[in-house]
């Protein structure tokens, strides 16, 4: 009975959403992207493209897109080709959709890929940080040739691809305290969704903490005694891309704690004029439950 109801729900929901979509939307407007395509029609014969673009067609053949799109493959992304095929050779570039530099604006290029790749993890592409910075699909992916094992990325090393633009992170992942990105045990995409997200900083989860909890579930709690900045945002104290302080802390442990804790009579560096309170684990020599304590006597985060 439940299966049947669920099936009815799927059918009704599909019909409703299809109606909404078809009422208000249409696929790529090729003429808007390139006015020279006005009146052009789809030829649906990729073999004609091979006449001039032999090398491209050769490497494209057998790729995922070739298999999925078949004879109309070229036109799926480059637009209707009738005018391109009929144009004199020197005018042919003007009668197609080119993904090279100086052609379409980045968001226009992306709109072509999004014909088929909307939804799921790309739901938030439009308006996302990468789109706003003029990154487009072919900044990271290449569909004309298989250059990597997964996702048609332009490089096998996905994180290396990110670091090409995010230069400052290259230095950070080399720091003495870092996540195992350069050792190949993590990718940038373990925490970030480069296709856009509803969280900050293109995070794959809704918040910084929810992202961290994907691997550090033990810190999720809730605890009896909470540490307010920990509950709110792990990056209040940690620099996840790498730091030269143990535990990827943003500052030397004791000084980080002293930014927010200045109790009267409590150990405090200049007062004691010695390095002792920073030795070992610093304040955490005693306040070991810094992420929260579940002990009835743990209000000072020492139990």
């Amino acid at each position: 009975m439940h299966t049947r109801n669920f099936g009815i729900f799927l059918v009704v929901a599909s019909a409703l959403l299809s109606y909404c979509g078809s009422t208000y939307a249409k696929d790529v407007d090729w003429e808007a992207l390139n006015p020279n395509l006005a009146g052009a029609t789809f030829v649906e014969d990729s073999t004609k493209c091979a006449t001039c673009h032999k090398a491209y067609v050769q490497t494209y053949t057998g790729t995922k897109h070739d298999r999925a799109l078949g004879d109309g493959g070229c036109e799926s992304c480059h637009g209707p080709m009738s005018k391109h095929l009929a144009a004199p050779r020197k005018e042919r570039l003007e009668t197609t959709i080119s993904f090279g530099e100086g052609g379409l604006a980045p968001h226009e290029k992306a709109s072509i890929c999004l014909q088929c790749h909307k939804g799921s993890e790309r739901t938030y592409w439009q308006g996302g940080a990468h789109e706003a910075s003029d990154v487009t699909c072919n900044s990271c992916h290449y569909v004309m040739e298989r250059r990597s094992d997964t996702s048609l990325t332009i490089k096998e090393d996905a994180s290396g691809m990110c670091l090409t633009c995010h230069l400052e992170k290259q230095g950070q992942v080399l720091k003495s305290s870092h996540m195992p990105v350069r050792e190949g045990k993590m990718d940038c995409s373990d925490c970030h969704n480069p296709h856009g997200s509803y969280g900050p900083k293109l995070l794959a989860s809704a918040t910084v903490n929810e992202t961290c909890y994907q691997c550090h579930e033990e810190k999720r709690g809730p605890f009896l005694w909470e540490h307010a900045p920990v509950r709110e945002d792990c990056s209040n104290c940690h620099e996840p891309h790498g730091s030269n302080n143990p535990g990827m802390l943003t500052n030397k442990g004791s000084f980080l704690c002293l930014s927010c804790h200045q109790y009267g009579g409590h150990p405090n560096l200049p007062r004691y004029n010695r390095v002792s309170s920073t030795v070992g684990q610093g304040c955490v020599n005693c306040h070991n439950r810094i992420h929260g304590s579940n002990h009835p006597s743990g209000s000072k985060l020492t139990r």
Partner: protein, 748 residues
């Protein structure tokens, strides 16, 4: 409850494994040619690749192999493999699968299986081991390492009348070496299936264990100069199961999805118990000293998280899109609470108020985004975000016992737990106007509102304006510049709110405080933030490109208060790529990072809080220089019949110099030693094909780490009077070693 939960999870995992296998068996049929056509096997070759070889390390280094497991001097096996079936391009077969293994001879091994029936379904199983080595030469007098009950050897002696580390008479002979490390073992299963009519389902499951040891500071006593602590090797024995199921529907015009995520964390050890190493401190109860007293701390409790979520996206015409999502979650934790103390001789007049905490945080998240092209050149993006964390954990009075050392505090002086809740709302509107040739300007405004409970700041808001320009119309260069200026304002900063809220009414005076009243916590208080990013790219010739990036961030927390006063980050990066010939590439980068922060405080005892002569200031400066240069040659000697001969060189150097300068008005200060971390790696590698099916790879790397950290290096266990630290020698971190890698790859 727990066993049922795991039974359910196991059943789900089995279904997840069995489902695609069963379906894949069926899936072969439609793809198989009919009526005597060539068999799919003939069209879809299975290709295999096996790589065997060895790593040779000329020295031990626990640090070098921190995440790889390559730690010991000598030879380790290198075993990688890959077996793959891909359909021929003109085949009707839609199925491909791949089995891969990496680093099978090391502790960082990985095995992965991928199955994909294009356009129908896919499945993957990914097993990973991830070591995390901290150090191998720790020293501790405790026995029972690996368990949750640590004891001292029978020969442990404490000098009569001593209450600090100077009284440990038999410390040296009782120190035993130990390693501190953990290892994750993770299995990820994922299954995607197209259901037809635009629907699809995605199931993900992860099972992970993390085992090993970590360090935990473990004190007796809690205030008034009476704490004594030891750094203990505490056990890590954690298990996590995560599962996510999403149903999605989509066309090119509208998309919709809903599903659930569940996560269960389990800790095999509820607490850590240890024997007190110290002689009796005068403020402790008479029973609290070696050899009889024990301490006990709570370890991370079991917890769970369940979240339901849904999203949708709709294109309103070719130029407008609206997306929205909602997520409702619940974090729960119902571990049995420990007693106030493990010490039976201490007086406990009030029992723990509840058996289990029944902690709960409800999470609510909404997001809406509208993007539209008002004209071909003008686009606008509007965002709204609502994030609410409602902590419903019950509040009770806990008259605590200070570090298993004193009788229970009076009920009226007990602490009430503070289940912090917060709500954050963000909105922004950004407009972008595009000129021709990828040139654009953008600008907009952002607004954030923060509301918190039990906090020094209950309400804060932040306005920011952003602007940027990108010039991409030039033939051989492009430039971009982005600027953001934000100002956070709080309605009021009441520093003793947490102190008052954590006590019974009337127990704390209105003007009483723990932190100095002039302290402003940086994550809560007023802040002016400035961000600037500049990027220039040059590509004067097809063979050459260069880039320059400059980033500047400044947080200003205002004058006249203690805490973090100012933080600045300056980043400069230069990168280049030179490709003089088709088979030669020279790429490199240089980055300079400068992190500066200023903080201030007042060192005060009761009655001294108003004395500005007791102010002190700390300036922290981190300067990081990183160089990298890589030169590679490919297909060298192809004209002379050599095949697949590639070789290259790589140089990386990262140098960090850190200093913390402490000054004071009148108090005597003493400079802290500098902190240093220099990492240098030089490597050369070459590969060459041997015949048509095999190749050889050789790599040589010299890697050197030279770091200095005064808080860890050569710190004897009894350096501090009140803390027995876990000594780590400098050699634990530093290394200068050579890694030789040789491998043979055979393809068939």
């Amino acid at each position: 409850m727990k066993s049922m939960r795991y039974d359910v999870l196991k059943a789900l995992a089995l279904v997840l494994i069995a489902l695609p296998l069963a379906v894949s068996a069926q899936a072969e049929d439609p793809a198989a040619p009919k009526g005597g056509e060539a068999e799919s096997g003939a069209q879809s070759a299975v290709k295999s690749e096996v790589t065997v070889g060895a790593y040779y390390l000329d020295d031990d280094s626990y640090r070098f192999g921190k995440f790889t497991g390559l730690t010991d001097e000598g030879v380790e096996a290198l075993v990688d493999f890959r077996i793959e079936k891909r359909p021929q391009w003109d085949s009707d077969d839609t199925i491909r699968w791949r089995i891969q293994g990496w680093r099978l001879g090391l502790d960082s091994r990985r095995l992965k299986f991928d199955f994909n029936q294009q356009g129908t379904q896919s499945f993957s199983a990914d097993y990973r081991e991830i070591p995390n080595n901290r150090f191998s030469d720790g020293l501790t007098p405790y026995r029972g390492v690996g368990s949750a009950n640590l004891t001292l050897p029978s020969s442990w002696e404490v000098a009569p009348g001593s209450s600090d580390t100077r009284g440990f008479l038999t410390l040296d002979e009782n120190l035993a070496s130990l390693k501190i490390d953990t290892k994750r073992q993770r299995l990820d299963l994922s299954y995607d299936r197209k259901l037809g009519m635009g629907w699809s389902v995605n199931l993900d499951y992860r099972h992970e264990t993390k085992k090993g040891e970590r360090t935990l500071g473990s004190p007796f006593g809690s205030s008034g100069g009476n704490p004594r602590s030891v750094i203990l090797p505490a056990p890590v024995d954690w298990t996590t199961d995560n599962i996510e199921a999403m149903f999605e529907w989509g066309t090119s015009r509208a998309q919709f999805g809903f599903g659930a995520y569940a996560s269960f964390f389990s800790n095999d050890e509820i607490s850590l118990t240890w024997q007190n190493a110290f002689g009796r401190q005068a403020q402790w109860d008479e029973s609290v000293s070696y050899p009889d007293a024990q301490g006990r701390m709570a370890l991370e409790p079991d917890n769970s998280y369940l979240q339901f979520k849904a999203y949708g996206g709709l294109n309103l015409g070719a130029a407008t899109r609206i997306t929205a999502d909602a997520a409702f979650g619940q974090m729960e934790q119902d571990e049995t609470l420990l007693p106030y103390t493990i010490n039976p001789n201490l007086i406990v007049h009030t029992p723990v108020p509840r058996q289990e905490l029944d902690a709960e945080i409800d999470t609510t998240m909404f997001n809406v985004r509208l993007t539209t092209q008002l004209a071909r050149r003008l686009g606008i993006a509007l965002n709204y975000r609502y994030d609410d964390r409602d902590n419903k954990t019950p509040r009770d009075v806990y008259p605590y016992i200070g570090g298993d050392s004193q009788d229970q505090r009076p009920f009226g002086d007990g602490r009430i737990n503070l289940p912090y809740s917060y709500r954050e709302q963000n909105g922004d509107a950004i407009a972008t106007y595009r000129f021709g040739g990828n040139t654009r300007i953008k600008g907009g405004v952002e607004y954030s509102d923060y509301q918190r409970e039990y906090s020094e700041v209950s309400d804060a808001d932040e306005w920011a304006w952003v602007g940027g320009v990108k010039i991409g119309a030039l033939e051989h260069a492009s430039f971009s510049f982005d600027y953001r200026n934000a100002s956070r304002d709080v309605t009021a900063y009441i520093g003793n709110t947490p102190l008052i809220e954590s006590h019974l009414p009337g127990a704390v005076e209105e003007d009483e405080f723990e932190n100095h009243p002039l302290l402003r916590k940086y994550f809560l208080t007023d802040r002016d933030r400035e961000e600037l990013r500049f990027r220039a790219d040059f590509f004067p010739a097809p063979q050459f490109n260069a880039g320059l990036a400059v980033n500047y961030y400044e947080d200003d927390y205002g004058e006249g208060y203690f805490g973090l006063n100012e933080a600045k980050v300056r980043l400069v990066s230069v990168d280049l790529g030179w490709y003089p010939f088709e088979n030669v590439a020279l790429v490199g980068y240089y980055t300079r990072e400068e992190y500066d922060s200023d903080q201030s405080s007042r060192s005060f005892a009761p009655g001294q809080d108003a004395d500005p002569l007791r102010n002190w200031f700390a300036e922290s400066n981190d300067d990081v220089d990183t160089w990298n240069l890589s030169l590679s040659f490919s297909d060298v000697g192809a004209d002379h019949g050599w095949k697949g001969f590639d070789f290259g060189f790589d140089f990386t150097h990262s140098n960090t110099e850190s200093e913390i300068v402490v000054t004071a008005v009148t108090l005597a200060t003493k400079p802290l030693p500098d902190l240093r971390a220099k990492l240098r790696s030089v490597s050369a590698w070459a590969t060459i094909d041997v015949g048509t099916r095999s190749s050889i790879r050789l790599a040589l790397e010299n890697s050197k780490l030279d770091s200095a950290d005064f808080s860890l290096d050569n710190v004897a266990p009894d350096t501090l009077a009140n803390v027995l630290v876990m000594a780590v020698s400098e050699s634990a971190a530093n290394y200068n070693l050579i890694l030789v890698t040789g491998s043979f790859t055979y393809r068939f």
